[in-house]
């Protein structure tokens, strides 16, 4: 192993690396491999029948569609949050800065119950929309709301440090050359923030796709309409259909893995573009 690493005077590579790999294998890789082997035992044809079943496909559409939309909403509001937190001073700023991470720290079951209480039609917010015939909960809207909630911190927290490090001189120079504030924002600031925005978007998206706890309380769970993919796994499991459950799980796993590769590539890109700061 020593031969494949760059020479370093530091000790402990073998120990640290060996421990990392063993622990990674025991806790993550071998257990995940159980999904693969269980899926393989199914055979290609039945695998395809399970994962291409219309009801399962509808759940992908909802899970991925709602997650994309939620991540997009979070990107817009995440940028706004990062902007006002970095650039403005206003009452309650410290509180917001601290509480932005709430969705991350609040257990999902608690979040789900709280969201269902607020957005159902006799809830605090849900009742406001009722006169207009808009139901916020127990349909895809509910799924979207829950996913927006859990994904919020990611964009804020990836954009905030980059924005804080942004050199003001560049903006001043742009303004000095006659650019309007909007032009400066679109041409100078936004491109600079793009990698961070994309990373935040991808993180929020990855988290949203797999989310279960907070969504089931508010989704309605009607087949073809408001069933998310993780629920399909649970449903299959509860019908003693282990192979079916692992087949759907393997589809989700592959997508998660690809998403992570993209996120890590984006982070690599962000680092090479803007130095090792980030």
């Amino acid at each position: 192993m020593a031969s494949i690493r760059r020479f370093s005077a530091l000790p402990g590579f073998r120990l640290a690396m060996g421990y990392t790999l063993v622990y990674l294998a025991l806790v993550v890789l071998i257990p995940l491999a159980s999904v693969a082997t269980n899926t393989v035992s199914l055979g290609w044809e039945s695998f395809w029948r399970v994962v291409a079943d219309p009801r399962v496909v509808a759940s992908y559409q909802l899970s991925f569609g709602a997650s994309l939309l939620a991540a997009a909403i979070n990107t817009v509001f995440g940028l706004i949050f990062a902007w006002v937190l970095v650039r403005y001073t206003f009452p309650g700023k410290r509180l917001i800065d601290a509480l932005i991470d709430l969705p991350f720290a609040l257990p999902t079951a608690v979040a789900g119950i709280a969201l269902a209480t607020i957005y159902s039609k006799n809830g605090l917010v849900g009742s406001l929309f009722q006169p207009y015939g808009i139901d916020l909960a127990y349909n895809p809207n509910g799924v979207l709301l829950a996913l927006v909630f859990i994904g919020l911190p990611f964009v804020v927290r990836t954009v905030q440090p980059v924005l804080a490090d942004l050199e003001k001189e560049v903006e001043e120079a742009a303004a000095g050359l006659g650019a309007s504030r909007w032009q400066t924002f679109v041409r100078i600031i936004l491109p600079h923030l793009t990698p961070a925005l994309l990373t935040g978007f991808a993180l929020a998206f990855a988290r949203a796709v797999g989310e279960y706890g907070s969504v089931i309380f508010i989704a309605g769970n009607v087949p073809m309409v408001s069933e998310i993919t993780p629920l399909m796994i649970i449903t299959k499991l509860e019908q003693y259909d282990y192979a079916g459950a692992t087949a759907v799980a393997s589809v989700m796993l592959i997508i998660s893995f690809v998403l992570l590769l993209i996120i890590n590539a984006l982070q690599g890109w962000a680092q090479t573009r803007h130095g090792k700061g980030g």
Partner: protein
């Protein structure tokens, strides 16, 4: 390092699990969603009875959830001494994994069901949509709450009751029943995974015009959540028989067969029957049944064997992947 820690945890749990005092017995009863209150009462009564009879202390732990989830947990190794589930099919699934013999349902009286129940409608106070029978539920614009038959035992009874009603109508046949049940499910607003989830959605969140519920669950909602609701008993419903059994593999391993068996048999005693009736389950004992006669409305109840040829058959035709229930939601069958 990690392994060592893991094994010390394992050892610790094994010790706690296996080293109970001789006179203290622990049982685990794995049950379905709406029986929480029933077994809370019953466990206390049985512990008292067992103490008086044998001098032993028995502590009964409870696990509740959707019947499918619970049966799966037992199959996956949850060490239940007894299971008390919503329908025979879920216990059949356990029998198929050889944890209990295939003829388990013959081991106790009344198809191993010490109490029965049926499916009723819970509607909002004053019955504003005037829902009287199953046919009213199929009307456009009615919002129905019921759990998902794929994961909830109670929901399967709901579904089959509606199906049986359609079959029994003049000129009723399978095709018409499918159409009728399809209409009902197109009115379903929220499909929770368990009976309790549905009750919460209907009662606490105010969603839907009618909740299809276990009779006991409906009465419990009235008791727990105030009289914002009314119970409507349809002209025909299904005789729901939630069965019970000891899990042979587990009780033989743990040496708890005697107490587990007594635990189940005591459910058939007058005391057990009384507790069931007080918790809104229909008792089998004719005396207790007579005593609580006014509590349980008389309506025509069909059985699963009469109309569907037993649970295995019903499960295969209606609830398996690609079965009738899936066809209702298949694309193209939509409104």
């Amino acid at each position: 390092m990690k392994l060592k820690a893991l094994f010390s945890v394992l050892a610790a749990t094994a010790l706690i699990g296996g080293n109970a005092l001789a006179a203290d017995v622990e049982l685990l009863n794995v049950s379905y969603d709406p029986t929480r209150e029933l077994y809370q009462d019953y466990n206390a009564a049985f512990a008292k009875y067992w103490k008086a009879k044998t001098g032993d202390n028995v502590k009964i732990s409870q696990s509740h959830g959707g019947a499918g989830k619970q049966a799966r947990a037992v199959i996956d190794g949850l060490e239940a001494d007894v299971v008390t589930l919503a329908l025979a099919y879920d216990i059949d699934a356990i029998a198929d994994r050889n944890l209990i013999p295939q003829d388990w349902q013959k081991r106790l009286p009344h198809n191993a069901s010490p109490y029965t129940s049926t499916i009723v409608f819970l509607v909002r106070k004053g019955n504003p949509k005037n829902l009287k029978d199953w046919s009213d539920l199929a009307k456009p614009g009615i919002e129905i709450i019921t759990p998902n038959p794929k994961t909830s035992g109670g929901a399967r009874w709901n579904y089959l009751a509606a199906w049986a009603y359609a079959l029994q109508q003049p000129g009723g046949n399978e095709a018409k029943a499918k159409e009728f049940v399809g209409q009902i499910y197109r009115n379903v607003k929220v499909l929770d995974s368990g009976a309790r989830g549905s009750t919460t959605t209907f009662a606490e969140r105010g969603i839907g015009d009618v909740l299809l519920a276990w009779e006991n669950e409906a009465y419990l909602s009235l008791k727990e959540l105030g009289d914002k609701f009314e119970i409507v008993v349809p002209s025909l419903s299904i005789l729901a028989e939630p069965p019970i059994t000891v899990v042979d593999k587990v009780v033989d391993k743990r040496g708890t067969r005697k107490v587990a068996q007594a635990y189940l048999e005591y459910l058939y005693s007058p005391e057990g029957q009384e507790i069931a009736a007080r918790n809104f389950y229909r008792p089998q004992d004719p005396k207790i049944s007579a005593k609580y006669a006014d509590k349980f409305v008389k309506t025509r109840l069909i059985t699963i064997d009469q109309v569907f040829g037993g649970w295995r058959n019903a499960q295969k035709v209606h609830f398996s992947d690609g079965g009738v229930f899936d066809q209702i939601y298949a694309p193209g069958a939509k409104r």
